[in-house]
Symmetry: C2
DNA sequence: CTGTTAGCGCATTCAA
DNA sequence: TTGAATGCGCTAACAG
């Protein structure tokens, strides 16, 4: 690979001139400019971005921390992030942490060492966990899809509580009053969506019954297990709200295996609208999130933040709070009715 | 972020000493070593990997070119790659190319500029396409899962032809003789798996019939379409080999929609064994590939190649061809019988 | 064993 | 407008 010096020699100019034409940073006479362009083309010169990073203190790299890339939801989110990043000329480095805090710490260090310009987090983190990192880095961070509790850290996603609320209200509107809940433990899949469930019941005068809510991690197999629990009850709920499509698919499988019918014997509603939900039979009624879009917007906001920071870096304290960037983007969700919910029949 | 100079000052040593204790490259007295460690801990110092990359000419970064991350197969492969890379302290930068040659070229340039240490390709590339790149880069390249025709470029995957052969033989063993094929156009999903199909028929004395093979891209919706074609025939095949699970799932959906039963009226076999195949009803009989493992092994081989190259860089022409690294890793596939294939009944 | 020095490839002052 | 010189943070050769 040729470097800037070789180009300078070949074009018969100084390296500064080469640098200037590559970056358009200062005017260069057409004559020299042409000679440089030719040398560049002939030698197929590409500026070494490592060296640029070192001197500019900017890597054009963002890190994406994801609990599990092989999960459809995360993969789609990632693809949205990548799409925007590529357009903005940023590279994406993936940090698969398998829900392990230890791995995440390793990756935080790695990202610090590599001086990524920003970080997108696709899963739960507490403020305490982030504190150590934030103190030393001042690297912009953003949460995508799952918000963080009690903090101003930028976020892109949907209104989790409202979306869960809508899902449960849909069940209620169909005449169901015994509505089970299969929920997770973490913030979005547990607390938030659980809260939406609770409020929907409350607003419709339906008592909350602890016996018909079961806690499980997300995942098809866990959905199956959870539904087994629910079916053990002497009288099982006539409908179940599953906080993820994976859970719902597992639950569906379980119901069918028990020889019951969906939605005739039991209605099911999922959450996320991943590809899977259209492929199972019956097709899953679920809450649609614009997953790819959330990814794109996350990347856009993060990169905005990064470039904003770069600009205001010099003139500290410039009081342009007026054009402060918006750091919470809430996209629309929607209910997609397919085949797993039906009107409750008299019994 | 503190730099090496600040640590040196704080510890009262020279920067070389700091460098030496950080890398363990040369002996340092316990006394100084301790002082350095303390300074490092107190200031939470992390070596700037950008600077290291620049001088060592090594980024510890690999690029993964993938047609579509949000596709389950590719996401799993990626997760295998990431898993090994993380252990080996390599970062993974993802290059989602959406099956666009233009995007791939952009990414090749990006990877050149960023000086990645190696590249893993997860999809078809012709030798000509690679030629330009290879000429200027000498960056190790490896194909994962899909081989390249007529070249010694390292590869990790399964024996595609044999695996397809096995799938079709399974159908034949079950008594089927009218076996449809839904295949792709690209190398692995078209040429190779198609070849396995052809040979299986041939070895069993079954004539190849053009009318019952249909070409489609991979994807659930295309599988549906393809099966529609097949069902238009006055007498449809009693079994169909689909070159991917996605295709098979679409095909399954189509058959069911037409009011036919699987496997009673028509048997279906897929390929890949992605998560999906266990979730549809009936569960898909398919050819299992160790996807995650292929990813891991790819990363392992690539990194071996990279580090091998680094070592032999100085002493050119050292004739250690004896311990030449193996550059083709073929992992085992297997047939997993689930619920979409049954014995052909007399008709 | 330790410190001084040069230089990786580039952007950017500062003079000319 | 242009070129020479400085330094980003680090490693490695060299001398002590």
């Amino acid at each position: 690979m040729p470097n800037i010096k070789m180009i300078a020699r070949k074009a018969g100019v100084s390296i500064s001139t080469v640098s200037r034409v590559m970056n358009g940073s200062k005017p260069v006479s057409p004559e020299l400019e042409k000679r440089v362009y030719e040398a560049v083309k002939q030698m197929d010169y590409k500026p070494n971005s490592i060296a640029r990073s070192l001197i500019l203190n900017k890597t054009n790299l963002i890190g994406v921390v994801v609990p599990d890339v092989s999960n459809s939801f995360h993969a789609q989110l990632l693809s949205g992030i990548e799409a925007y990043a590529a357009e903005a000329e940023y590279g994406v480095i993936i940090c698969n942490v398998y829900r392990s805090w230890e791995k995440q710490q390793k990756y935080f260090n790695l990202m610090l060492e590599r001086h990524v310009d920003g970080i997108i987090l696709l899963h739960d983190n507490t403020l305490e966990e982030l504190a150590a990192f934030q103190k030393i880095s001042n690297t912009p961070i953003l949460f995508a899809s799952v918000p963080i509790k009690g903090s101003e850290i930028p976020f892109v996603g949907i209104d989790e509580v409202k979306a869960a609320y809508d899902a449960v209200c849909h069940l209620i509107a169909k005449g169901h009053r015994e509505i089970g809940l299969i929920r997770g433990e973490c913030y979005a899949l547990g607390t938030l969506r659980g809260e939406g469930y609770r409020r929907a019941l409350e607003d419709n005068g339906i008592p909350f019954r602890e016996e018909i809510v079961v806690h499980r991690p997300s995942g098809v197999e866990y959905g199956y297990q959870a539904m087994e629990e629910l079916l053990k009850l002497e009288s099982h709920p006539s409908a179940v709200f599953c906080v993820s499509d994976e859970i719902a698919v597992g639950a569906l499988d379980c119901v069918l295996d028990r020889g019951l019918r969906v939605p005739e014997d039991i209605s099911l509603i999922g959450f996320d609208d991943i590809d899977l939900s259209q492929v199972v039979r019956p097709k899953l009624t679920t809450v649609h999130q614009p997953i790819h879009e959330i990814g794109r917007e996350s990347a856009r906001l993060l990169i905005d933040l990064i470039e904003r920071k770069g600009k205001t870096a010099g003139k500290s304290g410039t009081p342009e709070a007026a054009e402060e960037i918006c750091t919470r983007i809430i996209l629309d969700h929607s209910l997609v009715e397919r085949e797993t919910v039906m009107e409750k029949t008299e019994s």
